[in-house]
């Protein structure tokens, strides 16, 4: 795959309060928040508060940057339901939003790929990264498929969004999916991961 021109390359960085205007530009857009729990923001101050109260304390929340502009955000959350008595969760979920003017360029796909690489490297106990897309959101389903996620099935009435139950398509990217992309590094990482898991008390079957 050709590398994009440097000014069009997708990079991720941490948010600062100064990004409030950029965040407001998509968080106030009904098209972007259509499949999110939150209603569109009406005031810049709501975006600023969201950065301070939710984004900055979040364990993994990044701004999606293209050519120096902040065009969206991506976040990964470890699932607390999989924590067991001090053992860290083996499962996390990823969510993302891109400003409407930047849709259709593969930006979300690249951001998901960068985020997946980063969290599997940072969290050696992670075995499954999952994501869900509304059944009526084929664009988001395509992002995940192009990023190498596997479509697993439709989960009926999985969440209530703005008062209505929604069927969601579940996708996942698991540890063994990564080996397909980079065999040599994947083997070294797998050894490191096995050692980390044994240290944490798991039985590792290779």
């Amino acid at each position: 795959m050709e590398r994009p021109a440097p000014e069009m390359e997708v990079t991720l960085r941490k948010f600062t309060e100064a990004d409030a205007e950029a965040l407001f530009s998509w968080a106030s857009d009904p098209r972007v928040v259509l499949f999110q729990r939150r209603e569109a923001y009406a005031r810049l101050d709501e975006a600023r508060r969201y950065i301070l109260d939710h984004v900055l304390p979040h364990p993994w929340y990044r701004a999606i940057c293209v050519g120096g502009a902040v065009v969206g955000s991506i976040s990964v959350k470890l699932d607390p339901a999989e924590e067991r008595g001090g053992r860290r969760s083996s499962r996390a979920s990823v969510g993302y939003r891109v400003a409407h003017g930047y849709w259709g360029r593969g930006i979300a796909t690249r951001a998901v790929g960068v985020a997946a690489d980063a969290v599997f490297a940072e969290w050696p106990w992670l075995v499954r990264l999952e994501a869900m897309a509304d059944v009526e959101n084929p664009a988001s389903q395509r992002v995940l498929e192009k990023a190498g996620f596997v479509r697993e099935g439709v989960l009926r009435s999985y969440v209530v969004l703005k008062g209505r139950p929604r069927d969601m398509v579940m996708f996942s990217f698991v540890d063994s999916d990564r080996k397909k992309t980079r065999p040599v590094e994947a083997h070294e990482e797998q050894l490191a991961k096995s050692n980390a898991l044994v240290d944490l008390g798991f039985h590792v079957i290779s």
């Binding site: 499962r91 139950p165 798991f202």
Partner: protein, 188 residues
């Protein structure tokens, strides 16, 4: 089409329907619970290890079962002594809860689990406000448990790969669901 030698010209009789009641737990059930709580085979697909004595089981009953929003003892019709347990546990979304059950081995293979799941589905939506979806996750090789859910009216939705770590092993899990508007299947 060949007929089998002699014998039936009609399909085998259905198993007589098992009747169960689901009762709220009391501490007095602890001794009956030991029948499945101490059994490594019954415990194998569950998150907990078999119990060696009643003291920790009593603590579990007191601290986890009694305060639980929906946890029931499975009793055979006309009997007071529980033969298993069934629960519907909240998740991070109020519309969705997870079913789990365990049965003493002496009562496996008789349709007791299926009857208990049916009974739970008939009552839980009325008991839990806002509940729309009951889901159940079963280890991929555990076909018997998947059959129980399907016979009760659950829909098999997907295999969730590497979904959880159960007793040190990463598991692929089959997820099933029953939505409040689905119909409980009454016949096998």
């Amino acid at each position: 089409m060949e007929h089998s030698t002699g014998q039936e010209s009609h399909p085998p009789a259905k198993k007589p329907a098992v009747e169960v009641t689901l009762r709220r737990f009391t501490l007095a059930y602890v001794d009956a619970m030991m029948a499945w709580a101490s059994d490594p085979l019954a415990a194998a697909p569950c998150r907990w290890e078999p119990y060696a004595s009643t003291e920790p089981l009593l603590a579990y009953l007191r601290d986890a079962v009694l305060p639980h929003p929906w946890f029931r003892a499975i009793c055979l019709a006309g009997e007071d002594r529980p033969v298993g347990a069934i629960s519907v546990s909240p998740t991070e979304d109020g519309c969705r809860a997870e079913l789990g059950y365990v049965l003493a081995r002496a009562h496996w293979g008789k349709g007791v689990a299926t009857a208990a799941v049916r009974r739970a589905l008939e009552t839980v939506f009325g008991d839990v406000e806002g509940l729309l979806r009951v889901e159940a996750l079963v280890d991929v090789p555990n076909v018997a448990s998947q059959r129980v859910l399907e016979k009760a009216g659950f829909t098999r939705e997907a295999v969730l790969r590497s979904y959880c770590v159960l007793k040190g092993r990463v598991k692929d899990m089959v997820i099933h669901s029953f939505i409040s508007t689905d119909t409980v299947m009454q016949q096998d």
